[in-house]
Amino acid sequence: MSEPFDAVALAGAKAKGKRPYFFKDADVERVLSIVMAVAGELAVTRMRLDTLEQLLIERGIVAEADIEDFAPNAAQRAERGRWQQEYLARILRIVQQEREAIARPHEPTSEAAGERLDDA
């Protein structure tokens, strides 16, 4: 066996050669890149779910109609609703925080707070 190595870091390594950016604003491109990675992972997960469903159907554990016609009961509906709410809050966190910031226009940054600590 060979010496240990960090496969995660190596797999994401940058290729030699300066990267071109296409948008006026590199920040937008960075976000796009992350969004596309997430979109990819979502597709992978959706496929995994489909695999599971197909296997369950094939093995007679559930029928396709069971899935399509599934009607959650009251407790399940509540649970699913909660999940959706939390999910949205998670992915839209920055929107929530920018909104909270409106109410606190005079907050210092940590850096500014730190500078004030020099003589306090």
Binding site: A15, K16, G17, K24, G40, A43
Partner: protein, 398 residues
Amino acid sequence: MPEADHDGLPDYRAVGRHAVFPNADHDQTERFNFLARLNRHLASVVLPGVADAYRQRVEPAFEHAQGRKPAHRREARQALAAEPLYQTWSALRRNTMEMRQQAGLSLVLGQRDQLIGETRRLIDEGRLRLDPQVRIPHYLSAVDHHCMPGSYYTERTADDVTAAANYDAGMFVTTGGMLGRYTDGGGRGMVEYMRRRHPNWRPRRILDLGCGLGHNVLPIAEAFADAEVVAVDVAAPMLRYGAARAASLGVDNVVFAQADAADLAEFDAASFDWIQSTMFLHETSCRALRRIMSETRRMIAPGGFVIHIEQPQYDADMPIFEQVMRDWDAFNNNEPFWTKLHDVDLDQYMIDAGFERHELFHGGVTAVVDRELFPDAADDNAEDYGRKAAWHITGAHV
């Protein structure tokens, strides 16, 4: 109206396997499927919009400002750079390449030691000739070709093959299966081309330049099973993996040798009946190209064929927009010699190397694939420009 059919892309699970082909689990497989479809979507849905934007916005705006249409690729490229749809398409395309590399590398790094072990086990000593004296040319080491971290040649550990395994495993993503189950549609197309034109020809010795992991030389070796085939490349990981892959696929008449195609003094004059290069020249340099051409002139036997296949040259007949699109990889996918190679007069390079003009010929090859599973380039209408599975032959019959 019937519902539009799905894009026709085969599932990654249809990709041809061999003993050193990396194993992909469910999610790794689906990651490749996603990326292949994303590429396909970019080519067939987003790119036509870029073409519309060029015709309807970019070109008219240029004409309005300059009083004429763009006269050269360079001008058109600069004008397009400000077009939002072009920016979106480009950013997505670049990003897809990077995602494909990460997906492939994480797949192969996770099974690195098994891949190396299996390669060692499979290689028949006589079929692999490595030469640690061979230097990596500067045109390969300046940037990593097609955003492949570490390029073809980096050895991350002793006897490494991960660069090649990554290249092999992810090829499907970039080409959408257009090159066939074993990514060998170009080589199979080449065999068909030669068989049709020279049905009784039997080469005894064949040389493949810049063979990579041997995708396109194996069909040639299989078609001419009595021939002795030498496949050269500078990158040891590609050669090791290529030799193991060939053994696993039962092809036993190829020697994978580490050598610089621009300096093949180890091979005698007039010692090959067929010298082939497949999508290799565009990853070299002007100086290397001259030397490669002279070496082929020296090594080709009387009656033999020297054949290079590449994407078509840019010429005055090729619309400027098409030229810009075909040139995209040069700037944005680390193909630094792409533009130059497609601009030069290859015939003149061959003549300068000592070939006679009357010996030269040109032709076209499209990928030959297993049509039950894979789309056929000949009836494909989604134009992905520089990545289309159709090539131009520049050859000499001496």
